[in-house]
Structures are given as structure tokens and as C-alpha cells.
Subunit: 293 residues, 2 copies
């Protein structure tokens, strides 16, 4: 079964559990709406790729870990889109949850998805309580305070930002969770997998900076030049376009060499290379060498 | 050590974990602010009372369960107070989190507290993974969808409300979690403890209805007559004051007879009787037999 098919089937099974019995209808609908159809599902795809590279001897546990991680990511998007944060109208080409339902239902949707993520892992423990508990510990650490995406978002309320802590928590945390949870689900130590996740997260950050500086709003589907407008740190402003692209390649090279020895090492290196190709921006402004910064 | 002292020490240890390292300062402060000083801490007190009645052979796990439950309760208060729900200015005699900090920080505080609750349970697993996983399952079920307090809050967005599902989820869920988690932490089956939690939850609901109908705003510290004003179901409107008081006594009698056989059965019955005394309203309006409904 392909990774996408595994994720589809496991997602449907998990969502069904939230819809049964005496569930209030709108909130049940909002949960479904926030999770399907999925976006690129990069984090759970990395997670399952790592699990498969490590032998994937408990595929149901790997699936549960992948879904749990994606639920946390979806919860963060629903809350980040709220009027008090980004006040976004659109997400994945459709109205955001608070626009389609209401602001109270969007808050409750995010809350319910966070709870569901931990429920999925506890329910999947089956005969391997140790792995399930370690998955819960890694996911909670990379989601909450002081190191997870909540902390990353929290930095945006500070007058003085610790930039490395900010990026590590906001972008890096769930990529580290992806590689480590994939390894844990397949019975491997988590520690050697931290660097791969951290480097993929860094690469996504630089790629995002390049897109923000190079693309136009139509191509990107969101406003551009936001980093410059908000005086936010940006790798392109710091290193120039070519410098940022060299930095992206360096990070991805480092990511590949950080892959721990495992049966699927070559397959994982290929995966990182494929992401690298997709992440490196190709746009008219870039081709002409005239970044919009 | 008294229950209050156990809760104080365990809460301080848990909060310290969120404040370390590179935590963003305001969010770290907001987490502390939302949890301390505690309110009545009725749910964790019931949880520890049940654990002690069952032998409390793993007090660290019982403490973790009690704190996790209280963190979920605090998270629900922070989110319920948000402008899009109750828009409350005060909680436990001080400004609500969104008033004292900001709305984004209040959303993140609730999210972080939910995550922390599951983290605390996973970290406390120690040598008893089975109990820890069961605690996580019960807490997630009584917090999320379709049966937990998120579902209870979700009912308030429905045009047609399933009243019994609404009360069971909104008020009952965390009391059921309290009795069941106390039993699980001490190595007992959860199932026989559901009724005690459900009945204590029902009693709180009727007591709340009585207070809403009988007390004045000054005594209650919040607006009164809200059920009548919003055409919400209320035991006093349905049964009259004396009828509602008889109902409260019936429920508490049922709660006491539902207590499963255990070494601390008599102590638990005393606890319920003490709560019954505290819950039965004594107010001038009640003494004069003139309910404000």
C-alpha cells in the first residue's frame, strides 16, 4: 500500500471515532473539515518513510504515529488562522474553519484535534506500551512548552525574539517529531534521528524565505514580501538569493549525511533529494536574477 | 501529606518543566498564571481521594493523574473565558488570561496546558506503562470528542441540543475522569467507578442550577438568572426549589451507594457528604423561600 493510501485509510478510521454516538454535529463536521482533504502531508510522509526505512515491524503503530502528528499540525493551522493570530480567510483552497463554522467551533476543533492525537497513540499501544509511551512523550515535547510549536508561536508575542529557539520550535519541532516518531514506531532509538528532522526543518525555513522573496502573490497563493515588510529575519535578506540557495543545498547535504545506518538509508536519501528539488524555487523573478526583496 | 500539599508540590514540579531553557517568557508566565493559585481543585481532590481509598500504591502516578486532570480543567477555563465564548474579564478573582496577557497567548496557554496534561501522564509511566496508558485513554476520552468537555462545549453551538449528552459531556466528563483515574492510578478497574463520577457531576449541575436561581450576583461573583434569561434548562425551573433540593439529595444518596467496595469506602462516603453540605445552597432568598426565577 502506498504511503498516501495508508494515510487516507488511517485518517478515515480515526475521524470516524470522533463522529459517533452523541457527538454535537457541527463540531464533528468541523473536525472532518479541518483534516480532509489533507494538504501535502509532508510530516506524516516523512514519518512513515523513516519507519519503513527502519523495517516498519508494527505498521499500525506507525500509521497511528503519522496520523497523530498530522492532527497536531492541522490543529496548529486551525488555531493559527484565528482572527487573533493570522486572521486568515483561506486554507488549502477553502474557507478556514472559523470562517466556515465559527470562531468558538474553530477553537474547539483545534483543542479536540490535539486531544485526539494523544488518544490515537494511546489506543494504538496494543502489545507495545513502551513504544506508544515514547511516541506520546516525543509528540508532547515537540508540540507544547518549552520546545514545541506552541512555544514557537509564543515567541511571536515577545518583544525580543531568540531567533534560533523560535525557528527550532516553530518550524523544526514537528519535523524532528516526524523523524523520531518514525524511528520509535519501528523500534529504533529516537536520538540519532533528531538531526535529520532538524535539518529538514531548517531547509523548509530557507525555502520559505526564498519563496517569500522571489514569488509573486498569485504563484504563492498568499501575500509576498511579508518578511521584509515586518522586518523579520530572512535568509535571502541575509545571504542574497544565490547565498540562500547554496545554504539550502548545504543543509540538505547535511540532512542526507545525517541519516543513521538503517536498511532503507538509500531510500531516505532519495526522499530528501526529491524534497530538495521541490523546495528549490524556480520562478521568473529567480530566473532573471531579480529577487523582489 | 495532605491532599492540598500533594497537589501544591506536584503542580510546582510540573510547571517548572514548562519554564526552562529557551521558553518564550510571556507564554511561560501565562501558563503559571492560569494554574496557580488553584481554585477549589475539586476534581483532583476527588481523584486523590479515590486513589487513597483504593490503597494508592503508586502515589507519584496518582499525583500525575491529579495534576493532568486539573491542567485540562484549567485549559478549558482559559478557552471558555475567551471573547468568542464567555468573554469573561475575571476568573478566580483576577483578570482572565486573555485580559492579563492577550488573546493569542490565551489560546496558546490552553493548547499548551492540554499538551502538558498528556506529557505529565506519559512521563509518570515509570514502571507501570499499562496504568499510564489507561489514564491517558480515560483523560482523552473525557476531554475530546465525542464524549468529553470539548463535545459539551460544542453542544452550545447547536440549534437543537441533546440535553443529557450536553450535561454528561460538559459537567459530568471530568468528574467521571476524576473517579476513574483515581482508581486506575491505584491499580483498580475503571468501570465500577463511572457511576460515582457521573452522580457527583449531576449533583454539581443541580447545585449550580440552585445557585443560579437563588443567589444574588454579589454572593455568586457572577451574573445570576442566566438560565432563565437564556431559556436554558434548569432543575429549579423544572422541579421548584424544594424539588431541586430533594433531587440533589437523591443524587448524592445514589452517589454514596454507588461507591465500589474498597478499603476506603467509608472515607469516600464522608467526602461525598461533605461536598453535599457545601453544595446545598443557604442564602437569604432561599431561607425566605422566594427563589429569583
Amino acid at each position: 500500500m502506498s504511503i498516501a493510501a495508508r494515510l487516507d485509510a488511517a485518517t478515515a478510521a480515526v475521524l470516524a471515532r470522533t463522529q459517533g454516538g452523541d457527538a454535537p454535529g457541527k463540531l464533528a463536521h468541523a473536525l472532518h473539515y479541518a483534516v480532509t482533504p489533507g494538504g501535502a502531508r509532508i510530516r506524516p510522509t516523512i514519518l512513515l518513510s523513516v519507519a519503513m526505512a527502519c523495517g516498519d515491524d508494527r505498521p499500525d503503530l506507525s500509521n497511528a504515529a503519522a496520523i497523530a502528528l498530522e492532527l497536531i499540525h492541522c490543529a496548529s493551522l486551525v488555531h493559527d488562522d484565528l482572527p487573533c493570530f493570522d486572521d486568515a480567510d483561506l486554507r488549502r483552497g477553502k474557507p478556514t474553519v472559523h470562517k466556515a463554522f465559527s470562531e468558538p467551533l474553530a477553537v474547539l476543533t483545534g483543542d479536540s484535534l490535539i486531544v485526539l492525537a494523544f488518544d490515537v497513540l494511546a489506543e494504538a499501544a496494543g502489545q507495545d506500551a513502551r513504544r506508544a509511551l515514547e511516541l506520546i512523550r516525543v509528540l508532547s515535547r515537540r508540540t507544547g512548552m518549552p520546545d514545541g510549536i506552541c512555544a514557537g508561536q509564543g515567541w511571536e508575542s515577545e518583544a525580543k525574539v531568540n531567533l534560533s529557539a523560535y525557528h527550532r520550535a516553530k518550524t523544526g519541532a514537528l519535523f524532528i517529531a516526524a523523524t523520531q516518531m518514525g524511528a520509535i514506531a519501528a523500534g529504533q532509538d529516537a536520538a540519532p534521528w533528531e538531526e535529520l528532522g532538524a535539518r529538514i526543518g531548517e531547509a523548509f525555513q530557507v525555502a520559505d524565505d526564498l519563496r517569500d522573496a522571489l514569488y509573486d502573490a498569485e504563484a504563492l497563493g498568499k501575500p509576498v514580501g511579508q518578511d521584509a515588510a515586518h522586518h523579520r529575519p530572512n535568509a535571502v535578506a541575509e545571504l542574497g538569493v544565490q547565498g540562500a540557495i547554496r545554504r539550502l543545498k548545504d543543509i540538505l547535504g547535511g540532512a542526507i549525511s545525517s541519516i543513521p545506518a538503517c536498511p532503507g538509508e538509500a531510500m531516505l536519501a532519495d526522499m530528501v533529494r526529491r524534497y530538495a528539488e521541490r523546495m528549490t524555487p524556480v520562478a521568473p523573478a529567480f530566473a532573471a536574477g531579480e529577487p523582489r526583496i
